[in-house]
């Protein structure tokens, strides 16, 4: 089974994000970078599938600047066999990203493409279904359970006010929801081994994709969310506080 796992490097969710003085972008220097939390479920799922299907291979792919190599190596430490770093500095919108990945992933011809359901920086969640469209394969999003049956998969996901079981032939793009599995931690030895692994590096420009130069989505300005006015801590005995609160809410 050939598995591709797409990973993205994003700011740590616990970190404060500061806006640059010109309001156009975040202050990149101050941010601590991590693997997108939802991608961790993708890496873990790939590792489990590989364990259950001897002879499987996992390729970890990321698009990004120099530092993106860290998340690829992290994926290798957790079970990836090889890594591809598509080097890119400029902002790419989802279509451009999906086109780039379609070119690179298309050459690998994997059976399964796993990724997180959404990246916590832009919140688009758009690339995986777009990638599936460009590769002309099906996709299933926000999967909370995944089973392999030969050349097909059965996935479970939240649907409307309940759950749905979705079946799909392979190859397929699957995006991972929190709770799909319990991501493991890499051992020190695995991390050190991954540090030495040579990654395949591709310059995004060399792929010759037109959308990379243009952008149909542009961030014009960034602001902090409006401050809420200071709140009130109610006083008095509990039942009086509850009555006061109920009065305000009704």
């Amino acid at each position: 089974m050939k598995i591709v796992v797409l990973v993205k490097q994003v700011p740590d969710t616990s970190a404060k994000v500061n806006i640059r003085s010109d309001g156009s972008d975040v202050d990149q220097e101050s941010i601590s970078l991590v693997t997108n939390p939802y991608d961790e479920y993708a890496i873990e799922e790939a590792a489990r599938i590989k364990k259950a299907n001897v002879g499987s291979t996992i390729t970890i792919i990321s698009i990004g600047g120099e530092k993106a190599a860290d998340v690829i190596r992290n994926g290798i430490a957790l079970g990836g066999d090889e890594g591809i770093h598509i080097k890119n500095q400029a902002k790419l919108d989802a279509i451009a990203t999906a086109q780039v990945l379609a070119k690179v992933v298309g050459e690998i011809k994997p059976d399964l493409i796993l990724c997180g359901k959404v990246a916590v920086d832009d919140g688009w969640g758009a690339v995986p279904p777009m990638l599936a469209e460009y590769l002309d394969i099906p996709h299933i999003t926000a999967v909370k359970k995944l089973d392999l049956n030969g050349n097909a998969i059965t996935a479970e996901k939240d649907f409307s006010t309940g759950s749905a079981k979705v079946e799909s032939p392979l190859p397929c793009v699957v995006t991972c929801e929190k709770g799909l599995n319990e991501p493991r931690y890499a051992s020190l030895m695995e991390m050190m081994k991954a540090k030495k692994k040579e990654l395949k590096v591709i310059d995004v420009g060399s792929l010759g994709i037109a959308e990379v130069g243009t952008s149909i989505i542009e961030t014009l300005k960034l602001n902090y969310p409006p401050e809420r006015p200071a709140g009130k801590v109610l006083q008095g005995d509990l039942s009086a506080q509850v009555k006061e609160l109920a009065g305000k809410l009704k």
Binding site: G125, A126, V166, K178, I217, L222, K232
Partner: protein, 291 residues
């Protein structure tokens, strides 16, 4: 210039009743200028089936913008539509800032709500989904277009749907959310929150801790790696209010905190706080709303 609004039907069982979040998207569509037309899908949902059908209709009729509510289903198939059409796609928009020719500037959160961005999209049709509760609901458009979901050639298919009878209301769409965190202590502890939610006609949410402990399902999680909610009333019980939870609730109209710990970060930030044992406070509050 046509603006298409995807009208999703409420799972209330009432024939033809459109979801509130779709009617909110109608309001947003109204701000774009042009003629607003409702899109109603017929046939069972599949990612490819909906994507193919909507793309084909859009290619044929050339709407300027396609608009909908942000939810897991729209997030599933609309990107595929965008890929087919070469369209800019942005989910989770919270406002419309500017329209100029085929360029639309919207506001939407970034970094799970830590920042708000003004983002411009260029292209026809632009595909935009709006965050529930960012707009007041509007009246359903008088003109609707029925689109039949494709079935031929669909590869990923739903085989079975299991409804959760207990859950009628998505936490991201409820007017009132009663939410519990580590302070609730157990799955059983959530019973008092469920009773308050029922009395107030709301949904029960959970912090990441409560979900990670296995007390509540992932779909109830509110916060940075869960759902971002903007209800009229958000009652946080036994939740400390760290930044990761706060970004998920900061857009609520009124935030209430019930917590034993007077030093909990949420106590200062909430609009109203009661320092006390939630197992004492919440039942008292339920009584107030039952009467």
């Amino acid at each position: 210039m046509d603006i298409w609004v995807i009208l999703e039907l409420a799972p209330s069982g009432v024939e033809g009743q459109v979801k509130e979040s779709s009617l909110e998207a109608v309001s947003a569509a109204g701000k774009l200028g042009g003629t607003v037309k409702g899109i109603i899908f017929e046939g069972d949902f599949s990612s490819e089936g909906y994507a193919e059908a909507l793309s084909a209709a859009a290619k044929e009729k050339s709407p300027a913008v396609i608009v909908g509510a942000t939810n897991p289903i729209s997030r599933d198939y609309l990107p595929r539509v965008a890929a087919k059409l070469g369209s800019p796609y942005l989910p989770d928009c919270t406002g419309i800032e500017n329209i100029s020719g085929d360029e639309i500037t919207v506001s939407r959160p970034l970094y799970t709500g830590k920042l708000v961005s003004q983002t411009k999209v260029k292209g026809k049709p632009a595909i935009l989904t709006f965050r529930p509760k960012a707009f007041a609901p509007g009246a359903a458009p008088s003109e609707t277009i029925k689109i039949t979901a494709k079935t031929d050639g669909v590869r990923a298919k739903i085989k079975e749907i299991v409804a959760d009878v207990k859950k009628k209301l998505d936490v991201a769409e409820a007017e009132v959310v009663v939410s519990g965190g580590r302070g609730v202590g157990s799955a059983d502890g959530f019973k008092v929150l469920e009773e308050l939610a029922a009395a107030m006609g709301g949904a029960v949410g959970a912090s990441r801790s409560a979900v990670d402990f296995g007390w509540r399902p992932v779909s109830d999680q509110v916060g940075q790696t869960g759902k971002i909610v903007a209800p009229k009333i958000y009652i946080a019980c036994g939740i400390s209010g760290a930044i990761q939870h706060w970004v998920g609730i900061q857009n609520a109209k009124t935030i209430i905190a019930v917590n034993k710990d007077p030093e909990a970060p949420i106590i200062k930030k909430a609009d109203y706080s009661i320092v006390g044992d939630l197992f004492e406070v919440v039942p008292l509050l339920t009584k107030e709303f039952k009467s």
